[in-house]
Structures are given as C-alpha cells and as structure tokens.
Symmetry: C2
Subunit: 457 residues, 2 copies
C-alpha cells in the first residue's frame, strides 16, 4: 500500500484553490507543473470553479473515477468531514496537509485521534496531519507545497517539512539528489516503520535519510532499521535531543519525550549512522553518494598545506581514524615526483610548490598502494606561481578516474567554496569535495564505519 | 620595533626574480602591485638585472639608502650569508621567507639557531624562516606570496601561511576583513608575544585572531593575552592538539609537543576564546565583526520552521545558553501579528506562512524587550506563496537598523548559501548571517562569553 502514496494513478486535491496566497494553491501548482505525469489529477474546491483550465468538483464524492490518494488541504475544522467523504469514496490513502491538530493543544490531539480511528476501521492509511506532502522525483511527482528537489538516489523521511525544504537547498548546492521524500508531520498513522520496508525494496533508493523528532515504538523501529541498513545505508538525525529541543519539538509536531541517550546507544549498536548535527547529516549523505565503501581503514594523506594536514590530523585522531605507514616501495615510487625538502611520511606534505603533476602522481600511487585504503587529498588553492585554481583537484580526480573510482578519495579543498571553476568541475564530474578538516575526517569515519559494519554481517 | 615590520619606509627584497615560477617573483609582484605605497622598494637579485623596469642590486650592501626591513627569499644554503650582509647593512628587521630549516631536520635546526644568535647579538629582530611574509592591508602593503585579503579590522597572527591564505578565501566569502597579517613560520625570534602588544595598541585592529601550532613560553604568552584580551577580543585556534596532529605539525613548522589540555584550561581561565575547529574560528570572527556584545544572556528566538528551532534549541542547550521567558506584556504586543495557531512561547514558531511583516514586527518587539538580550531569527526560505527569498531576512535587518544595531541579532538562515539576492544583501548592508543551527548557537555563546568576561573586569 505505501507504494501507492509514491506512485498514485489518481489523485484528488481537496482544498485546491486559485488563490496564490494559500497553501492549497502551492500544492496544486506544484502538482500541475508536470504535464507528463502518469496520474490523473482531480481538484476539489469550494471557491474556484476552474483552476488552470481544469474544472473542479464540489466534493470528492462527485468525482466519477476511483481515487488512489486524497490530499486534504482544507482548514482543520473541516478535515473530519472531508475524511468521512474520503472513506465513503473508498480512497486507498489519505494525506492530511492541514496543520492545527495535536501540535496545538489537547483538543487538537483528540480530533486527531478521532480521525485516526475512523480511518483505521475503514482500513485506510493516513499520512500527516501537519505536513508539506510527498515527492517522488523519479516520476516528477511533487504533491507538496515545497520545491522539487534535484533528482538522485537519496530517499528522505522527515518529520519536519521545512527541514526537507532546507536540505533540498543544500543538496542542490552539493550535487546531491532525491528519489522519494515524505514529510510525516504528526504521524497520526503512517510512520517511519511503514515507509522503511518500502524504501528497502525501492529500486531507485540507494541511501535513506531520516530526520525524526519523536519515536514512539522504539523497539519496532530499531528492528526495522537493523534489517534495512544491511541493504542500504541509513543516515539519521534526531531533533529534540535535549530538554530545550524537546520543548521546541512538542510545539512543532506535538512530540513527546524520547530518551536520546538510550536511543543513541541502541541505534549505534544496530550499526546505523546517527549524526550529531545537520552538517554531519549532509556530509554523510555526500559521502555515501559519491564515494565507494573502503576495504580497510588506513588513510593515506597528501597535502600542499602543512596547516591543513595538521588540522585534519587533529580531527582524524578525535574520530579514531588510522593512518597508514608508507612502505619502502611506496617511498621509492613517490620520491621522484617530490621536492627534496619533502619528508616521506604520512601525512605527506608536498609543500606549497606542488602542482597538478604531483597531485596526480601521488594520488595515483596512494590509490594503487595496498597499505592505503582511503586517500585524503588536502589542498589550499595557491594564489601564486600562476597556478590554476582547479589544477590540484583535477590531478586527484584524473588519478581517481583512471582507477575507476574503486578506492575512496576524499578531497579536502580548504575553504574553496568561492572558486566557481572548481565547483563547476565537481558538478560536471559528479565528484566529492569537502571544505573543512572536520568534514573530511567525518566523511572518512562514516565510510569506515560502513565498511566495518558490512564486514561483520 | 615591531611596528616597523608593518610600516616600513624602505624594503629590500633579497632574492627578487622575474622568473614567474619562483616564490621570489610572487612576493616581488605582490609588493609592486601597489604603486602608491609610501615605502621605497629595492630589489636584490642575482639572475635578473631589471624587474618590471626596476634595476636590481647584486647585494643589499650596494643599496645607497637605509633599509628598514630586509626580506630574504634566496635558497636556504645562502641565507646565512645574506643575513650577515643585512647585519652589516644595519637593517632594522629581517623576514626570512625561505623554507628548509628547523622543520626539516637537526641540521636545519642548527643552522636556524646559528642565524638566530647572530641577529640577536646584532640587536636585529627576525621573523620566520619558513613563512609567507607579512601584510598590512591598511596601507595596501602585501609583502608576502599569498593574496591580499579583503580590508577590515581583524588582525591575524598565524603560524601557518596556507592557513592564512585559506582563511582569506573564507573571509572574502563572509564579508570579513583583515587589518594586519603575519605568518610566523618557525618563529626563530619574533613570536606571538612580540606581535600582541603591538596589535593591542594598533588603531585599526579591533579583533585579534591567532592560529598556533606550538607554544614555547606558555606563561609569558598567557600573561600577554590576558592583558590584550581586556581591550580587544582574541580568538585562538590551536593546531596539533592531538598526537597525530602534533606529529604532522612537527614536520610542518618543526614544532614540539604542547600539552593541549593544560593550555586549554589556562586559556579558558584567562577569558580568551579558544575555538575547537576552523569553522568555530570563522564564526567567532564573524560574530565579533558584525554583532555588538550583549548586556545579558537571555535569548529570544523566532522562526518560521519548527525543525530549525528544534535543532537550534538542541545546540543551544549543549552550549549552555538560556532562553528568555516571554512576559505578558510581550505576548500582548506580538499576538496581533501572528496566526491564531501560534503558541506564544519561546522559541516562537510563527509557522510557515510568516512573512516580512511578521519578521519585522517580532524582531522589533524582541529587540525592545527588556527580558531578551539576544535575538535569534531562524528561517527556512519558503519556496511557496510567492514569497521573496530575501523578505524574512530584510524584515529582521530593518528592525535591527531602526534600533541602531544595539542589541545582538543572530539571523539563522538555514542552508541559504545559494540565494544570491540574500548574500548580496548581506554584502551591501554588512550584516551577519549564519547557515546552520550550530553556527548560530556558537555565535551566541561567543558573544555571551565576552559579555560575562567584560562584566567581571
């Protein structure tokens, strides 16, 4: 059944409107944007007789066809009545976008419960209320009032709609892409547990991202993520970890307290990745999107900036990462490319004069070395000696491409966000890039954790 | 004397060259870029008779005028001889840019010591070796081989040159600016202790940033930063905090171990800000650059995104921040501007429909409220209802400007780095912007720490 939410053949939008100042309009317009959608759309409206040349119905009961999914956008006080009509119409699923229920007060909670029970006894699954809707980027379906994300292979379940919206902005920036997105809101019925098994089997989903504020059936959730994570990496961010955070969450999605410490321990034991903040969350998605899982845990580090490799090393040690020891064979192989001042130790500081040739040759040597499992290429773009802003990075990527990207390469281009030529290159070549020592070290940690986890299965 | 390094009236560049593949050329070109520099420049070169129409000298001894500062760029093996000539010439200060000394091996250390003693007995101060040079942006002096940073009021002492270079890239991005910059390198003679008293008195320096890998005379350093920090905030980042980091540092600037735990405790006790990573370092500089010091520690938070205020609250609690309780007076004042669904609690979730009007009115009310010391404006830019990407932020800034920016405003525009119109607005109006909940919470922490420190003086 969950599949129908993402792949409906017919949709009724109840509360559609031509008034651009209403959320109902935003959902309607997003949905109608894609002319080629393989899904019939019916609009139910009280105010507008015609919207974008489409005649509307007064009630879902007037629609002469079967409806897979009904989207409810009418004000909270009308929702119960509309749900009753949806039940009468025997829709397969309902998504209540309207807010103003359990997140507001006890009265709202009671109304939510009443609707929940009605749908349950009718055997109809419900998403929401208090959500932005659902997106299936594979088929260009945007049944939400937020923007269409870039297309890709991450599927996200978020309890917060605006979290999804902001994440899409960042993903756009970082060349990450979405397959499915769903905002659970108050989770009246459909919850994480229902969506996860669907995503596990979903062909286009390669990585699963979860933002949660509240977890009610912890045991069941833990069992499911344990299973799903074997097949596809799950990345979780929890909001409401602290007392202050939980208080904020309770007014947001009506969440009740979850013991974060217990949850943290349980998730970590299950082998699923739990991020501590939103930056880690994005870095983890980036790592899984662009970099293969290593076959060991030893890092080989090259740099043109001592400061950067010092700061990277500090972060690496804090995160428990291991550095490879260079073999005599490797030293002999790399020394012809390096200035005589350069010490043949890991991290390898090739000093500021290092150029594309060195970055290419050393990256290649590291990638081909059996003692090195992950290559970390640190760089501060030199503003001197006529060097190109892109050359060091390009050298690394050339070596990586020649090795068919089989071993992880983590390029740390310190604070290089402003170099358009470089950023365009990463766009075009779908290559990873990290901007701070912490980001690069965290990427390595995430990949190594996945390697160790898969190794134990 | 230190002032002479930043404000020389005559400079000799020893090792100047027209060969664009050499560092000597990079320094020469940077120095000659500013035609209006109020300083005479003399070039000493073996290879090039004329550089950019300027005739060169074979030796510093041939220059017919007094020299304030000699920059040495010749290969390491010639440095001792050149230093002897500088002593003979009675220059006031020497900056040795050349690398290949104590950071390489014992032989290099010995040579460094020898040169140090010669200069000491001649009473000449030396910076470096193994550094990129010195910058005084106030007078457009770039005597280094890295780029000129944007002009501003931060002065930076860095042990790593590439750290400075990368920081400048980030500063350019974040509207931060530099007054003085110096790269200490191996710190043969001139060290943090010498520069700090100068910066304390320097008119254009309002904030002092330090990147250090090694600290030899800890007690003296701590005494000095304690004094300086009373007048101007000092922001420190330490590289080589861990065993791995120290190993990397030892090959970088020849540093020896510093006990980070002890140093951390001592610095914290002195009231100086010690950042844990390079992102915190930039956020701290941004906070001091754009936001006034608060007169208390209570935060008032507004948001259009529940998820963002939940994540902000988590970070705030971790950093020990306090939230204000809304008075009845404040509630009465703000309620007319808000949807009826909105709960009048802190954080104030104005929900997704909030627009410029709400952001302006609520920010204004918070800024004028005596129970709120710092206003945190959270926002996810809404992609719906025809809202402008800039309007929420603009509303907050308008209220802030009307209050003459007297109270701290911390705008958290989640993941909005890609909105050009917004970024241009911050450029033009010199306003602060933060992109993640952690950044915003850390900014508040930094400002509150400074408030408490100044309050105890």
């Amino acid at each position: 059944m969950i599949s129908k939410f993402f792949n409906p053949k017919s949709i009724a939008l109840i509360g559609a409107t031509s008034d651009p100042k209403k959320f109902g309009n935003a959902v309607t317009m997003n949905l109608l944007k894609n002319d080629n959608l393989d899904c019939e759309i019916f609009l139910v409206s009280h105010g507008s007789k015609v919207i974008r040349d489409i005649p509307t119905y007064k009630s879902i009961l007037d629609i002469p066809k079967e409806i897979d999914i009904a989207f409810i956008l009418v004000p909270a006080k009308y929702v119960e009545g509309v749900v009753e009509e949806c039940i009468q119409k025997a829709v397969k699923g309902i998504i209540i976008i309207t807010a103003g229920f359990g997140e507001i007060d006890q009265k709202g909670k009671a109304l939510e419960k009443k609707i929940e029970l009605k749908c349950k006894s009718a055997g109809i699954r419900v998403m929401g209320p208090n959500c932005v809707g659902i997106i299936n980027a594979d088929i260009n379906l945007n049944a939400s009032f937020i923007q269409m994300p870039p297309r890709g292979h991450i599927s996200m379940i978020s309890q917060s709609g605006s979290f999804g919206c902001a994440s899409f902005y960042k993903m756009e920036n970082q060349n990450l892409g979405i397959s499915k997105f769903v905002n659970l809101g108050n989770k009246m019925d459909v919850s994480f547990d229902d969506i996860l098994p669907f995503l596990m089997e979903d062909e286009n989903t390669e990585i699963i991202a979860i933002y949660m504020e509240e977890l009610l059936e912890g045991r069941k959730f833990l069992e499911i993520i344990k299973e799903v994570n074997k097949k596809k990496p799950i990345v979780i961010l929890k909001g409401g970890k602290t007392k202050k955070g939980r208080e904020a969450a309770s007014s947001h999605t009506g969440s009740i307290a979850t013991n974060y410490k217990l949850l943290k321990t349980a998730i970590k034991q299950s082998g699923v990745l739990l991020c501590e903040n939103i930056s880690e969350f994005i870095i983890a998605l980036k790592s899984f999107s662009f970099i293969p899982i290593p076959k060991g845990s030893k890092l080989g580090i090259l740099t043109n900036s001592g400061g950067t490799s010092v700061l990277f090393s500090d972060n690496a040690e804090k995160l428990g990462l291991d550095f490879a020891t260079f073999s005599e064979e490797l030293k002999n192989r790399i020394s012809p490319y390096l200035y005589s001042l350069v010490k043949l130790i890991n991290p390898l500081d090739m000093i500021a004069g290092a150029r594309e040739t060195q970055y290419y040759a050393i990256t290649k040597s590291f990638l081909e070395d059996d003692d090195i499992d992950i290559v970390v290429g640190c760089c501060v773009i030199p503003p001197f000696l006529g060097m190109k802003s892109i050359e060091h990075y390009r050298g690394m990527i050339r070596a990586w491409d020649e090795s068919h990207r089989k071993k992880p390469l983590i390029p740390l281009m310190l604070f290089s966000e402003g170099f358009d030529e470089l950023i365009n290159f990463t766009d075009e070549n779908k290559t990873p890039i990290f901007y701070t020592p912490y980001e690069a070290a965290y990427a390595a940690k995430v990949l190594i954790q996945r390697y160790r986890y898969l190794n134990l299965l």
